[in-house]
């Protein structure tokens, strides 16, 4: 699995459960690839920030997160 495959897999991880094979392939890649580890955290952050944005498009009422 290279970075292109790994990032596609991590994007799909937001949509469905990965198969055992995909999880293993991904984990093997992530151990040796710091940029892809960053990507995984960032994709989760995108979802989190979109939800925050959806709740309040202007942020005026947004509570400081703990």
């Amino acid at each position: 699995m290279n970075c292109h495959d790994a990032t596609r897999t991590m994007s799909e991880e937001q949509e469905r459960s990965l198969t055992l094979g995909e999880q293993m392939g991904l984990n093997v890649h992530l151990v040796v690839c710091p940029p892809c580890r960053s990507f995984r955290r960032q994709v989760a952050f995108l979802r989190e920030s979109m939800r925050a944005y959806a709740r309040d498009p202007d942020g005026d009422e947004r509570e400081p997160s703990q």
Partner: protein, 206 residues
């Protein structure tokens, strides 16, 4: 009607917001833009926005201020859009299976599938801190605006309207794999845009 003093005060805040033509016009414009992107039909978008405003008037809720009112009415609009899109899935045509051309992945990866030096994601540290920063949200909105049309549409359906993948596939008429490609490209672009315009300063390249 047995309003206490407190609820009279909060509802007058909402009334005050609704009496400000600039506030209403600006809110309306943003809602129509969002609804049009989601529904691909200006008339249905206008209707949904109108219904959202009416729904907000009917709701016997008190508002702490303009921002709370805006969140409330935007929330109603999201539900209207989700209902529209779900209803539409019943009449969906056969999937057209087309992905708009987008060179993004090629620009981010070497031919062997590894990140290019410029595109490799950096460590963003504690990105949650950005959620409290008004300037971050302006950058975020600008990055969303820069997504290509179809990517923006399915990404917003997934992450903003919070529809499930099968609902989006029926509403847009695409296959699951095409949806996943569009979502993947939107995520690649969006994170790249945020890194370039917000997180690039002060982060360590990993």
């Amino acid at each position: 009607m047995d309003n206490t003093d407190a609820s009279a005060a909060t509802s007058s805040d909402a009334a005050d917001a609704l009496n400000d033509p600039q506030f209403v016009a600006d809110l309306r414009r943003r809602m129509v833009r969002f609804a049009t992107l989601q529904l691909s039909d200006p008339h249905l978008a206008e209707d949904a926005v109108q219904e959202a405003f009416i729904g907000a008037l009917r709701g016997s809720r008190s508002f702490a201020g303009r921002a709370a009112y805006r969140s409330w009415v935007f929330g109603i609009l999201r539900h209207k859009i989700a209902d529209q899109l779900r209803a539409r899935t019943r009449y969906a045509a056969a999937p057209v299976n087309e992905v708009e051309p987008d060179p993004t992945p090629d620009a981010f990866f070497e031919p062997d599938g590894h990140w290019t030096e410029d595109a490799a994601p950096a460590d963003w540290g504690d990105p949650q801190a950005a959620l409290r920063d008004d300037q971050f949200w302006r950058v975020f909105e600008a990055c969303l605006d820069h997504l290509p049309g179809k990517q923006a549409r399915v990404f917003m359906m997934r992450e903003f309207v919070e529809l499930e993948s099968p609902e989006i596939c029926s509403a847009v008429g695409i296959s699951t794999s095409n949806l996943n490609v569009s979502l993947y490209r939107a995520r690649l672009r969006l994170r790249g845009c945020l890194e370039q315009h917000w997180f690039a300063d002060g982060v360590v390249r990993s």
